[in-house]
Every structure is written in structure tokens, then in C-alpha cells.
Subunit: 203 residues, 2 copies
């Protein structure tokens, strides 16, 4: 069976960087945003729409009533799209795990690939360092105040938590759902990667 490493991460914690570095160091395939694009291709739904569904869960499961008329068709389409997206997400993740050793960032891969016994890593950090990392990576013309940035970061993590809860019925970021949780505010990302490589290569 191929080796699979999954990375859950708080926004701004450098989880993606951990994933990329690990994949490079280990010679594993690396998957992140490619997953959204592939779902979009297979479902014929726009990438942005797939992303919206997966990252913001805008699903209305209850019928909409206007006056005395029941309008359920919109909801039916939403539910159908959501089902297709989730089904393709599972298929794609399984294909990735079957194809080669790989590192997968986000997308509830820790849960959806549990039969592949992945090394489930969660990367987190203190708000101060996460803000600094976001500022460093932001485009030069970004105008967000600190308050706006914190609000945005919290909202993104809230969406991730909600989506994770929806798919797995478990709490996002709760250590019992992971094998290793790494605080990148105190552990340097390069050192963290070397440490994980030491663990994986020992296995």
C-alpha cells in the first residue's frame, strides 16, 4: 500500500508549506488545489462553484416556500451538485492514494482515506505568527487592516471546521483525530519537515 500523508491546517499556519516541503523531501506526489480543478472537470461544474461548495458549504437542505408555492427544484439541484462533488472528491482521493505515495492538503483526506491508514498531521499556530505569515505572503496591494485580516482568517477556519464536521462528524483540529499536531509558532517549518521525514522513513 502506498504511503499517504494528510495535512489539516489552520489558515496562516504554513500547513501548505509543510505539505510541499514534505512531498519534495520524500519524493511523494503533492495534491492541494488540483483536487478542486479535477472535481470541476469531472462534474462539469465551475471551479469557483466547487470551491464554494467545499469551502463554504452553501447548501440549503430545506425547501423554499414563496407564498403557498413550494419551490424545491433549486434545492434539488444544489443537493445533486453537492452529492456529485462529494462523490468525485472521494473517487479522486482514492485514485491519488492508489497511484503513488502522496501528500494531500485539506479536503478531509484524513477521514476519506482512512482505509489507507494515512499519517494524519495537523498544523496550527498562534494568531500573532499566523498574521505575520499572511502579511508576508499577501500581494503588495492588499489593504486589509489587522482587524479585517483576523476576521477573514477566523472565517476561513470556521468554514473549514464546519465542512470537516459535515463530512466526518468529527471536530476539526481536535488532536484525537490526528496522529501528530505541530505548532509552527514554536517549531520551525523546515525542522518540522525533517522531523516528519525521520518518522516516515523509520516506518
Amino acid at each position: 500500500m502506498n504511503k499517504v500523508i494528510t495535512i489539516g491546517r489552520e489558515f496562516g499556519s504554513g500547513g501548505r508549506e509543510v505539505g510541499k516541503r514534505l512531498a519534495e523531501k520524500l519524493g511523494y506526489a503533492y495534491y492541494d488545489k488540483e483536487i478542486i480543478q479535477e472535481i470541476s472537470k469531472r462534474t462539469n461544474l465551475a471551479t469557483e462553484y466547487v470551491k464554494q461548495i467545499i469551502e463554504n458549504r452553501p447548501i440549503v437542505y430545506y425547501p423554499i416556500t414563496i407564498g403557498t408555492t413550494l419551490h424545491s427544484s433549486y434545492n434539488d439541484v444544489m443537493i445533486e451538485n453537492h452529492t456529485s462533488i462529494m462523490s468525485e472528491l472521494s473517487n479522486i482521493l482514492v485514485e491519488m492514494a492508489e497511484k503513488s505515495n502522496c501528500v494531500i492538503v485539506g479536503r478531509c483526506a484524513d477521514y476519506l482515506l482512512k482505509d489507507y491508514n494515512p499519517l494524519r498531521i495537523f498544523v496550527y499556530g498562534n494568531m500573532e505568527e499566523k498574521i505575520a505569515r499572511c502579511r508576508k505572503k499577501a500581494p503588495a496591494n492588499e489593504k486589509l487592516t489587522e482587524k479585517q485580516l483576523i476576521k477573514l482568517m477566523k472565517q476561513i477556519d470556521k468554514n473549514r471546521a464546519r465542512y470537516y464536521q459535515d463530512v466526518t462528524c468529527c471536530k476539526w483540529g481536535c488532536k484525537s483525530n490526528y496522529d501528530l499536531a505541530i505548532n509552527t509558532s514554536s517549531i520551525d517549518i523546515k525542522a518540522a519537515c525533517d522531523m516528519i521525514v525521520a518518522l516516515v522513513e523509520k516506518d
Copy 2:
């Protein structure tokens, strides 16, 4: 400054084994139960009493009234003892950190030695594996049923959490208070130690 590694751990997770192995591998001093004995020596309080205070927090902060008489002397003694114990705990931990590189298990050392910038590790596991580990280490004449054992394990962790909360005002086991959280149900203890050694030696 000496290197300090602190280990918080759920009962049955093998945290003590992680600490011992790490100390051996790194050539660091190892401290665990010795701390209680040293406090007992310095305060002239019985080891069991010190242990009880530190592990079960039996402190009554409110005055006892019987009829119209206020009996505060018992409470005064308890508070005085608790203050001495906590004061000596801090002193001893600082002395240990000043003396040499070391691994310290429990005793809120992650918080009390924060000025020494310790590597703060938390070791946890799933109940099933923790029970199996407890059974393996139990004396041959132990008669606890599974239900009794689980109750005991939960009570010990509850006490640890309460004590940690008292001393640090933070949540015991919450990943944000640690640098690294390791699930020994999925990561082998020897491999975990090699991984931590790789991290420490990189530093």
C-alpha cells in the same frame, strides 16, 4: 541556556516511556516522581500528602462554619501547605532547568518553566490502546474490571486537567499550549522518540 523538554500526558498513553527514552537517547536528566520526593523533603510534608495536593487538589479555600463559630485554622494550614508546595515545585523545576539539559514529565513544567523556552510535548492516545497499555503494566494481582479501569483512568486525567487549570489558567491537553502533540495509538513510541531527537538535534 540548557535544553528543557516537558511532557504532558494522558494516563496510559506512554508519556512517561517517551520521556525516559528521550532522556536516555539525548543524554538528558530525567525527572518525574523525584520532584514529589524532593518537595516532601524540603517542606517536611509526607510524600503521599504532597502527591495528594499536587494530583488531587484537595484544597478548601472557604472557611468552615460550625454553628456560629468560624473555624478557619484547618483551611489556613491547608492553604499554607499548598503555597509551600507550589513554591518549592517552582524552585525545584528552575533548579533542574539550571542544572543541565533535562526531560520533565508532568507537574505543569511546560508553564512553570516557560522562561526556559521548553519544547512542550503532549502525549495522548485512544482509549482502547491506553487500556491495553495499562493492563500490560498492571501488577499480576490487579482485579479491576474494564469499567473500573476506565473510570480510574478518566479520574486521573480529570485530576491532572483540574490541577493544570489551577496552576496555569489554561486547558490541559489543548494543543495550543504545546509545541507538539503525539498520538501513541498510531505512532510507535520508539519512532516518536527518534522523531523528537531529530527535531532537538536540529535545533
